[in-house]
Each structure stands twice: as structure tokens, then as C-alpha cells.
């Protein structure tokens, strides 16, 4: 294995980062349950056929979208776009993008919900539409969604998107629904198999299974790739956001893949949802009791004949 100075620095950096992550209290591996399932994505196997995109659209009955590169300004990608659509939307829950990143240069990368154990979207969702399935993925009940869009704001990966029939009317009335990859929850719940993207992938770049098995497989694959000379190969998702149930193998800094280095669930959001809301209720309750108490005391104490 060739190891230049840069590669050495990267590996030692990752080792330090890994050490920090293990030392941090929020380690996903510790919270891993026996029946946790997940997806592992290996871009070194991906051929960019976009079968995952098609399978996702077919199973989830999502309409096609058009991207008009002709009318797009050059700053936004203009006439040199490689992907359509350009990003995840309410109708596109999994997406292959071509990009230049890390040690192996141009390669495809799959974007979909990362199914964080410590999911910011679930923390901020006020209606319980987004919730954690006991198997670890982030499930979604569109019936409960009220379209507040908090999940679209707080997701560190920018995954959920709001869909609305009419943009202006939707904004004015607040009528919209969030949408994102559901890990094909209906397939899982009904015993029909795993996520359609992973089931359809012809080259094994997307695989699904028990999270514990995937962790082992991912680590082994990283070792293999490193032995083949890809010294920056690393498993992304093992230790971030409490452990991702959609892990990726990357060849460089997460930032090169538009993945956050440390996608922590917003701590303030948790405080606001739990402590702040309870505190608010307590204040209202105490004020109400105080007023009722004052009423009974004053009704006895006040002599009405003195009142002007």
C-alpha cells in the first residue's frame, strides 16, 4: 500500500476523529438493537445506472420530474449538468449524482434519507408524522403531516422536501406535505422485502440488511479498498447522528460529498420541544391555579358594599 504524506495525514486525522467519536457519549453502535436494519452504499461498485432511482419511483408511485437545462442560469449548473433532477425533491427520494470527490475523482454517489438514529426531523416534528421505527429507520406517516416544514429546515442532510400543488396558495395557506425516503416502510412492514432501491441495484452498490452485518461488511470493504491502494476509503455514518442506518463508503472528506462532518441533532430543538413546551404548560397551569385561588380568596375578602 502506497502511502504519501497527504494520505497519512488523512488517515491519522480520521483515526483521531474516530477516537473522538468513540469517546463521545452519543455513539450509534452502542444503541444498536438486534433487529436494526440499514442500507450500505459503496460508490466503488456503482455504475450510475440509476436503477435505484427508477425502483424508488415505481414502488412509491412518484411522478417523473423534468429539469430544463436550457433555461437554467449558468451559475446554477447551466448547460453542464450531469444529473436530473439536480437534487432530492418531494417526488425524488433517491438520486444518483455524478461528482468529483476524494481520491478516485469522478464517480457516482447516491443520495437518500440517511435514517439517523438521532434524527433531527423526528425531534422537531410537531405532529408525530416522522417517527423512528423499532428497526431503526425513520418512518413517515403522511396522514399526520401538517406541512410545517420543520423537518426540511433541520435535517442536516437536506433530505425532506415540502410538496404542494400550488406554490403560492401553499405558502399562503400553509397547506403542504413533507416527503422523503421511508426505507420502503410498507415493504418492510408487510414482509415484502427490503428497500426497493437496494433490491433493484444490479451491482450490489446498494445493499440492505441487518445493521450489524452491514457495519461488518462496510468495515471489511474499507479494509479491502485500502489494501487495493485507496488509502482514504472510510465508512461514513457509523458514528454520526447517533449512527446512520444508511451508511456510505467515501474516499475523502465528507464535505466533498456534501455530507456534514458532524450532523448533530439540534440540541436547542430538543430543549425547545421537550423542556420548553413542558415549561410553557407549567407556567399556564400555575397562572390558572393562581387566578382561581385569588378569585376564591377575594370573593370572601371583598365587601361588595364598599365597591364603587
Amino acid at each position: 500500500m502506497k502511502l504519501d504524506r497527504r494520505g497519512f495525514l488523512k488517515i491519522s486525522g480520521m483515526a483521531v476523529a474516530g477516537g473522538v467519536a468513540v469517546a463521545a457519549p452519543n455513539v450509534g453502535a452502542a444503541a444498536l438493537a438486534e433487529n436494526d436494519v440499514g442500507i450500505l452504499y459503496d460508490p466503488s461498485k456503482c455504475v450510475g445506472c440509476r436503477a435505484c432511482q427508477m425502483a424508488c419511483k415505481q414502488w412509491n408511485k412518484l411522478p417523473a420530474e423534468s429539469t430544463n437545462a436550457q433555461t437554467m442560469p449558468v451559475e446554477a449548473g447551466g448547460n453542464k449538468i450531469y444529473d436530473t433532477p439536480l437534487g432530492l425533491t418531494a417526488q425524488t427520494w433517491t438520486l444518483i449524482k455524478l461528482g468529483k470527490a476524494g481520491q478516485i475523482g469522478w464517480h457516482f454517489f447516491n443520495y437518500q434519507c440517511m435514517h439517523c438514529t438521532d434524527a433531527a426531523c423526528v425531534t422537531v416534528c410537531p405532529s408525530g408524522a416522522l417517527f423512528k421505527d423499532p428497526r431503526g429507520f425513520t418512518a413517515y406517516d403522511p396522514e399526520k403531516c401538517i406541512g410545517c416544514g420543520y423537518c426540511t429546515q433541520f435535517c442536516p442532510f437536506g433530505v425532506p422536501h415540502l410538496s404542494t400543488d400550488n406554490r403560492i396558495a401553499g405558502t399562503l395557506t400553509g397547506r403542504a406535505k413533507a416527503a422523503k425516503c421511508t426505507f420502503c416502510q410498507d415493504r418492510i412492514w408487510n414482509g415484502l422485502g427490503g428497500p426497493s432501491c437496494a433490491e433493484r441495484c444490479p451491482v450490489g452498490a446498494l445493499v440492505w440488511g441487518k445493521q450489524a452485518d452491514l457495519l461488518r461488511a462496510g468495515t471489511q470493504r474499507v479494509d479491502t479498498l485500502r489494501a487495493q491502494g485507496l488509502s482514504t476509503a472510510a465508512l461514513y455514518g457509523e458514528n454520526v447522528a447517533g449512527g446512520l442506518h444508511r451508511m456510505s463508503i467515501i474516499f475523502g472528506e465528507p464535505g466533498q460529498y456534501y455530507l456534514p462532518e458532524n450532523p448533530a441533532s439540534p440540541a436547542v430543538a430538543r430543549g425547545w420541544k421537550d423542556a420548553f413546551h413542558w415549561a410553557g404548560q407549567a407556567v399556564f397551569g400555575l397562572a390558572f391555579l393562581g387566578i382561581v385561588g385569588a378569585f376564591f380568596v377575594s370573593r370572601r375578602a371583598i365587601r361588595m358594599e364598599e365597591v364603587e
Partner: protein, 245 residues
Amino acid sequence: MSVRIKGTSNVLAIRWIPKYTTLERTLHWVHTATFIPLALTGFILFASWLQPLAQGEAGLFVRLVHRIAAVIFIGVPILYAILQPRRLMMHLREFLSFDKYDILWLRGAFPYYVLGRHGDMPPQPRFNTGERMNAVVTTLGTIVFAVTGIPMWFMRGMIPPSVYEGLVIIHGVAFIVTGVMFMVHFYLAVVHPMMWQGLVSMRFGVVSESYAREHHAIWYYGEKRAKQQWEASHKQPDSEEQQKG
């Protein structure tokens, strides 16, 4: 107004003093009628036990009600500023005044409102300290609700999540403060046995002369005379006569 007392030939004459304009009373009730649905729909997000109301179609309806009520709620002070700007400025100036009589009022408020101990309340202008506190909280609250609510409504995706989060929390804090103030205001204005004239004045725009004399001496007698009377009666607490004369 004169009222014949039942079963007698006695006539009770009451002098009424104007306090609010028709527009002020109308806007007060519009503000009330929009604050209540705003508070109730907002409270749903505070109470996890009310979560079924925040889900699906019910949740979409709640969000629509909150938006419609919010537009009217913010429109009220704007309409007031356009139609009666001088009255608005006069009120804002009054609301922001604070002196030692307000400290005395705050000290006397609990024994007075809860235990009914009369005679120890300092003279007050057209609005007493508590009313002015309510007015300041309402005014600031409306501004804070608008300043945080409008970006939350229209600028989602344009502002960073941390700022958005801050807006949500400030909106919630403003709700707690104004919500408690609303409860106290409702109690003192509607429920409290001594304060029945507040509701009368907000309905008909007037208060009786005796009420104004008793509760708003600075407004009734003028600042100098009212304060002189107070000082005189409190230098020699025995001579009740002096105060009445």
C-alpha cells in the same frame, strides 16, 4: 344616565366620562377575538397530549386558522395607527410612564385585588400601573409575534435553521408571556368582583364618575391635586377628613 331605584321614587344619577373611542373598542374586541384562536391553535403545539389535533387534516385546518387570525391580529394595530395616530401616540406615551406611584401601586396591588383592602392605593392616571403593564406586554407581544411569525411563514428555506429555531423559541416565549398576561387581564376585567366597570368601559366607551375618582384620581382631579391629596392623607394617616375635603 339616571336610574329609578325599584320600589322608591329615588333617582340615581350617574355621570359618565368618555374613555375610549368607538374604533378603539372595536379594535380591542377584534384583537381579543383573534388572540384567543391564535393562542388556542398555538397551544396545541405546546401540549403533547393535544397532538391528535395537530395531525393530518385537523393540523392543516389549525394552521389555516392560525394564519387567518394572524393577519387580522397584526392588521389591528396598523389600522389603529392609520385611522387614529394621535390617539395611538397618546396611549403609547401613557403606557411608558413610570414613577414612584407605580411602585406604591404594585406594593398595594395584592392586598387590594385579592384581599379587598381599600384606601391604600396611590392615585393613578387614566390607566393604572397594571393596565399599563398589560398594554406594554400586549404592544410588545404583537410586535414580537409579527417580527418572528412573518419570517417563519414566508422565509422558510431562506433563513438558516439556527435563526429559524431562534424565531420559533422567541415566538413561544412571547406566547407564554402574553398568554399569562391575557389570563390575568381577563380575570381582572371580566371575573373580578370589584372591577366590573372595565368591561362596561370597553363596551360603551365610558366609566362612571365615581369609578374614575376612586381608581384614576390623577385622570379625574389632575396630577397636581391628586398627588397633593395622596401626600396629605399619607403624612397624617389619622385625618381621613383631609383626603375627602
